[in-house]
């Protein structure tokens, strides 16, 4: 992509002095991070480092104690998740978060409604919109779930539900996609499938991803941030992060040795 140009443009996502406390415990302790448009960015860190909390702060699920989150330069303070979503940020969840009683197709179609401008319409019939139904079928094609189209989403296998989770996340056409541990609990072949999927659906988009699987992280990410105890101790290209002694000391050493 046009990397030199996007360097000068407003970052897709910018965090400044972000802090979050639950009671007296400070979980996020001053995070500054800038993610450029079109970047594939991974956040890694040991368990309990605050990765999911960071996601929840960015997407409006929690309100930060202090600090700002900017999406394409707009301050997100005080915005509800649905407002942030309408500005072009979409996320998936670590624990599968779908509509279990609705069919797979309905799940995807519902995620297309707002972006196609239907809002709270009660004068359109969803079955009569070609754009809506073909759009949903296209997404199903992309996430390889066409064969499961008319099953209730709750009966899908774990990997399929994870794929659906990603499908729901990308369906609305958001340009900033945030995936919270997309490959958690998956076998090797399933992981390969999901990584291919992520690569395919995030083309020309900004991706922020929390991930434990180092193979996935180093294979996919343009840049990596390492979060330890609520602070980012390093940000950079994969090879730089890997070589960073602080990172090796805090977290990566053991993981890398296990990996190779």
């Amino acid at each position: 992509m046009n990397a030199p140009m996007s360097k000068t443009a407003v970052p897709a996502l910018q965090l400044e002095g972000l802090r979050k406390s639950f009671g007296r415990t400070e979980i996020i302790r001053g995070v500054d991070l800038s993610i450029q448009r079109g970047e594939l960015h991974a956040v890694i860190g040991p368990n309990g480092a605050g990765k999911s909390t960071l996601f929840n702060l960015i997407t409006g699920r929690f309100a930060p104690t202090s600090g700002t989150v900017r999406l394409h330069g707009t301050d997100l303070a005080g915005m509800a998740p649905f407002q942030i979503n309408r500005m072009g940020l979409s996320r998936s969840f670590q624990i599968t978060n779908i509509f279990p009683k609705m069919t797979v197709f309905e799940n995807v179609r519902c995620s297309l409604l707002w972006s196609q401008g239907y809002r709270y319409s009660f004068w359109n019939l969803v079955s009569r919109s070609r754009e809506l139904n073909e759009g949903a079928d296209e997404i199903l094609e992309q996430i390889n779930l066409t064969a499961r189209r008319d099953l209730p989403a709750g009966v899908l296998s774990y990997a399929e539900q994870r794929a659906l989770e990603i499908g729901i996340t990308i369906a609305g056409g958001a340009d900033v996609i945030m995936l919270d541990e997309p490959t958690a609990g998956m076998s090797h072949s399933e992981t390969d499938y999901i990584v291919e999927l992520i690569r395919k659906v995030t083309e020309n988009k900004t991706l922020v991803m929390v991930e434990h699987d180092m193979g996935v992280v180093f294979g996919l990410a343009d840049r990596i941030s390492v979060l330890v105890y609520g602070e980012i101790i390093a940000t950079g290209r994969p090879e730089d992060v890997r070589a960073n002694p602080k990172v090796q000391e805090a977290y990566l050493g053991a993981a890398l040795e296990a990996e190779h």
């Binding site: 509509f99 609705m102 309905e106 709270y120 969803v126 079955s127 296998s157 990997a159 729901i168 499938y193």
Partner: protein, 430 residues
């Protein structure tokens, strides 16, 4: 993901109406038109009118419970409010000679129901679950209490009554006869049901399901769960108001009883009995409930006991309601294996029925023993007349109940196996 047991569904662009979509509605219309030719008596018409009112109200209620995941304990308020306002309109038409034909009254009932729902919904739909349920209960009690306080509006204890025949005749009909009222209500029943069905197919109706299943996820799709609930709530209030207008037209009187907590409880029972998970569930519930209420109450004073038992059995064993039980058989029918179930059903359900008859006989004998006037010890049950103070009668009833239960229980294993076999495709995985 290499599993291929599920056949790949062919996606049909459903942009044109199919016969399958239209047929149920045409059938319903034909059914309603022809029904009075079969059941001609005024008593039957009364039951059918009540049935249609309950259908519209139960469907409106299920827009909240089944479609939107909101459990309301005070939905009779919207029916009552719409109904009371329609009585006032009816009286105003009579007093001032306004040119408002009676069949249009449900529109106004609906608008008043909608108005009240907009006000209440603006704060009650912020949260679902327990909070919503408690608010609905509180509002229900509050407004029900108002009926005896604000006499101008609700007429105090005697309610508001009127006369539907004083309005303008419509095409020569003055609505003196029950049958004329029947067709007015029938029209509104079909129209309301159709509109409610179509509502469930709109973007906001689809999102109502999504919010029901997972409100948080819906928020991350750009929809405010609160506003989705609000729109469902308003729509539901509108159709509850339509049902209220139907009450006004049919009975020409509304009392505080129409918007009481009891009424709100009844509609919850009706919807659940029929099955909240399917659009047509509440229709079945309304039909069965009205039949039980009007027919069973002719034969026994303790009909509510049976109704309660049926409700309890539904909640405990068939949470999908009667519609759920029906729909369970669709996969069996698709596999063409319904025949496998016929004999096991007879062998289990027949003794079960005998057992139910035994238990109900026992109940009736005890009730008669306790409540019959002194000296009147003779009772007739299932065409047999006997002395209710005779222990032998009770013993026989008990033995019949126990024997029926025992046989049903013994054969239920066979039914379970047959059910499993009927649901297993040939050559498929067990």
């Amino acid at each position: 993901m290499t599993d291929t047991t599920h056949k790949s569904a062919v996606s049909t662009p459903a942009s044109r109406l199919t016969l399958g979509q239209v047929a149920p509605w045409l059938f319903a219309i034909a059914f309603l038109v022809l029904l009075p030719f079969v059941f001609k008596s005024n008593a039957a018409l009364t039951i059918m009118n009540q049935m249609m009112i309950t259908i519209v109200f139960a469907l409106a209620y299920n827009m909240l419970l089944g479609q939107g995941g909101m459990l309301s304990f005070g939905h009779a308020v919207y029916l009552g409010f719409g109904g009371f306002m329609c009585m006032h309109i009816m009286n105003a038409v009579e007093d001032n000679g306004l040119p408002l034909p009676l069949p249009l009254l449900p529109i106004f009932g609906g608008l008043f129901g909608l108005g009240l729902a907009t006000i209440i919904g603006s704060f009650s739909t912020r949260r679902a679950g327990t909070v919503f349920a408690m608010i609905s209960l509180g509002i229900g009690e509050l407004i029900a209490a108002c009926t005896v306080i604000i006499v101008v509006l609700f007429g105090g204890e005697e309610g508001i009554s009127g006369d539907r025949t004083y309005g303008l005749p419509v095409f020569g009909y003055e609505f003196l006869q029950q049958i004329e009222v029947y067709y007015v209500l029938g029209f509104w029943t079909v129209l309301s049901a159709l509109l409610m069905y179509l509502f469930s197919r709109t973007p906001v109706g689809r999102m109502a399901n999504a919010v029901r299943d997972n409100p948080e996820r819906a928020e991350f799709l750009g929809y405010s769960a609160r506003w989705v609930r609000f729109y469902s709530f308003c729509a539901s209030g509108f159709f509850a108001g339509v049902a209220g207008a139907m009450v006004a037209i049919n009975y020409e009187i509304l009392t505080e009883q129409s918007m009481s907590a009891t009424q709100s409880g009844v509609i919850l029972l009706v919807a659940f009995l029929g099955g909240v998970g399917f659009f047509f569930g509440p229709i079945i519930g309304a039909i069965v409930f009205t039949l039980l209420q009007s027919v069973l109450s002719l034969y026994t004073e303790i009909w509510q006991l049976y109704l309660g038992a049926l409700f309890l059995a539904t909640v405990m064993f068939f949470p999908g309601g009667l519609a759920g039980v029906l729909m369970m058989h669709v996969p069996v029918a698709r596999l063409g294996k319904f025949g496998l179930l016929v004999m096991p059903y007879i062998k289990t359900l027949l003794p079960a029925l005998v057992s139910v008859i035994g238990v109900s006989a026992l109940m009736e004998i005890i009730f008669h023993y306790r409540h019959a006037p002194p000296g009147d010890e003779e009772m007739t049950l299932f065409w047999v007349t006997f002395d209710s103070h005779n222990l032998l009668a009770m013993l026989i009833a008990f033995v019949v109940a126990a024997a029926g239960f025992w046989v049903a229980k013994r054969n239920s294993g066979e039914l379970r196996n047959a059910w499993h076999a009927a649901n297993t495709p040939d050559g498929g995985r067990a």
